[in-house]
């Protein structure tokens, strides 16, 4: 708004006066505050529990802050916690997850972005049929496709390997990512594409020199979406890999829900927190981009 014009028109200017402690405000902020506490409580309990010693946990309640802060549970969760016969802690699962997530994210985004580009700018006959099946596939329960994929992976010799799981993540990431990229590329001005074609650029030339540099934001959104999604996966990890290669979530569940031994709640919570740390850090750093990612994924998908 132009302030000068406002004054000339005699319209209101400056912030609207509002009573700070009106009944309405107390209600709104009160409710939001209570709900916020509810949402933060589990995070707080996780942190507090992971910093206590076992004797303190047995005596006190889970909401009280630690009297004596100890980082021993964290060390133990990372390096010593046992799953079955292995006692090298969550570190193995962490590195497995890294080794799974990095190639999966790269591959799935590479495939889906080229795909979306082909669908947006180089439509060919029949493309829409396949795309529709792909989008429908996003809603089909994974359980229906689990076993056929086992057979396919076994046939090509990737069952139980890391690359088999990478392939599975690429496949199941495809619907949402293709949609994301297709919508984004469609929204770019078409004149750019036409100008590049007139200048003699081909399919890959336009992709690498024009589309890719212009759509870095959407790539960041896709990376966030995929890293959190793949890191948090449990079902595919447990089915398509062997115990040596279990991702962090599977190992975490095995550590915490193992039947043998005394339950060490502080170690369990430290392990849980460690597993949740990667997506949490990504979430709090990326902020609005994360929201954009899930909104783009959810609203359309």
């Amino acid at each position: 708004m132009d302030p000068v014009r406002n004054r000339v028109d005699g319209g209101p200017s400056g912030p609207r006066p509002r009573r700070r402690f009106s009944r309405r405000n107390i209600f709104i902020y009160g409710t939001l505050f209570v709900v916020a506490v509810y949402y933060l409580l589990p995070l707080y309990v996780m942190i507090v529990t992971s910093l206590k010693g076992m004797p303190e946990i047995r005596l006190g309640n889970i909401f009280s802050p630690p009297v004596e802060i100890t980082f021993e549970p964290w060390v133990k969760a990372w390096a010593e916690a046992c799953t079955g016969l292995n006692c090298d802690g969550l570190s193995r699962g962490f590195w497995n997850s890294v080794r799974i997530t990095v190639p999966s994210v790269f591959l799935s985004i590479a495939v889906a972005s080229v795909n979306g580009y082909a669908l947006a700018n180089w439509r060919f006959r029949g493309a829409d049929i396949f795309f529709t099946i792909l989008i429908f596939g996003a809603f089909i329960p994974y359980q229906v496709m689990l076993y056929p994929i086992v057979i396919i992976l076994r046939e090509i010799g990737l069952y139980g390997t890391l690359w088999g799981l990478v392939l599975v993540h690429t496949i199941f990431g495809m619907p949402i990512l293709t949609l994301l990229f297709r919508n984004y590329f469609t929204s770019l001005p078409e004149e750019l594409f036409k100008a590049a074609r007139v200048d003699g650029a081909g399919f890959w030339g336009i992709y690498f020199r024009i589309m890719l540099p212009m759509s870095l934001p959407i790539f960041v959104v896709a990376i966030i979406l995929q890293v959190t999604g793949i890191w948090n996966d449990f079902l595919f990890g447990v089915i398509y890999t062997k115990p040596d290669l279990y991702p962090m979530t599977v190992q975490l569940n095995n550590i915490v829900n193992s039947v043998q031994g005394v339950k060490e709640y502080n170690v369990n919570m430290a392990a849980t927190l460690l597993t949740g740390l990667v997506p949490l850090v990504i979430y709090f750093i990326s902020g609005k981009l994360f929201v954009r990612g899930i909104a783009a994924g959810a609203v359309k998908g």
Binding site: N115, F131, F139, P141, Y283, A298
Partner: protein
């Protein structure tokens, strides 16, 4: 792009077709092919390995006479209906509160949404700990003096599914709130002005004007929640492993156990086919409304 008739040539636009091969293979072989394969093999009596020996609907008869499957379905119904209602209501109310031009909107939104970044495994384990009757909420309240207070959903077969529901809502409501907030922001400011001029109370404006206007957002959200509910698996595995007994089993877990642990493949296929069917019941009318309608316009 302009649609003009092209000569039918396989090699026209070749690069685009090569680029689309992964999509085509995924769509045809995995999504369509895999689904059909599973449905077909659910009519066989495959045990350890898939083999073609037709038994008709035997697997389905056995499925629907297994108490574990029936409990799974019942749990899924309760969980589904409750989580649908609660996440829509809570999500909408939070979005409406955040939409009041308040301060710290971003902070509140970040807090409500952060559980969504966490995996179901993490969610399940945290709530397993909080709902632990010896150390968690129950013991804390008993310590405060209410000795007979009892709240142990994870150890009580009758209410265990509500314990899982609490965790599921904690994880998922933030997403619904975000979708609703986007929907609310999409509504023209003038609607509000008109309602205020006419002297309509705020709650009535929401109920009779805003919510009907947000119908598409609600429908999309509904489809998202519904397709998520059918898949519930990790959460149950982490929080209760289906226990106590089989009180918190869900179909996805039944299917997994039959296929990969129980060496009873065809049972698993039959179960997953039922899951597919339940999704299709929601999906087809939606797709018809969403896409079928547009084409006619």
């Amino acid at each position: 792009m302009a649609q003009y008739p092209r000569p039918v040539q396989l090699f026209r636009n070749l690069n685009a077709k090569i680029a689309a091969i992964p999509m085509i293979v995924t769509a045809v072989v995995i999504f369509a092919g895999g689904t059909i394969w599973t449905v077909v093999y659910s009519f066989t009596n495959s045990k350890l390995l898939p083999r073609v020996k037709w038994v008709g609907l035997d697997q389905y008869e056995r499925l629907w006479s297994t108490s574990r499957w029936l409990i799974s379905i019942e749990n899924l119904m309760i969980y589904g209906v409750c989580s649908l209602i609660f996440s829509l209501v809570i999500g909408f109310m939070l979005a409406a509160l955040l939409d009041q031009k308040i301060r710290f909107e971003n902070t509140f939104r970040s807090i409500f949404l952060f559980p969504f970044a966490l995996s179901f495994i993490v969610t399940g384990l945290v709530w397993q700990w909080i709902l632990n009757p010896d150390f968690g909420v129950q013991s804390v309240i008993r310590e405060l003096g209410w000795e007979s207070f009892s709240f142990d959903p994870l150890y009580n077969p009758n209410i265990v599914i509500y314990g899982i529901l609490i965790a599921g809502l904690w994880q998922g409501t933030g997403l619904i709130m975000c979708l609703m907030l986007a929907g609310l922001r999409g509504i023209d400011e003038d609607v509000w002005k008109a309602a205020r001029v006419d002297g309509i109370p705020v709650w009535k404006t929401y109920l009779f004007i805003i919510i009907p206007m947000m119908r598409p957002v609600f429908i999309t959200t509904l489809v998202i929640i519904a397709s998520g509910i059918v898949r519930v698996y990790d959460l149950v595995v982490a929080q209760t492993s289906g226990g106590p007994g089989i009180a918190s089993e869900v179909p996805a877990k039944y299917v997994y156990d039959k296929m990969f642990l129980g060496q009873n493949l065809a049972q698993g296929f039959a179960g997953s086919t039922m899951m597919l069917l339940s999704v299709l019941i929601v999906l087809i009318p939606w797709a018809y409304l969403e896409f079928g309608g547009k084409k006619r316009v």
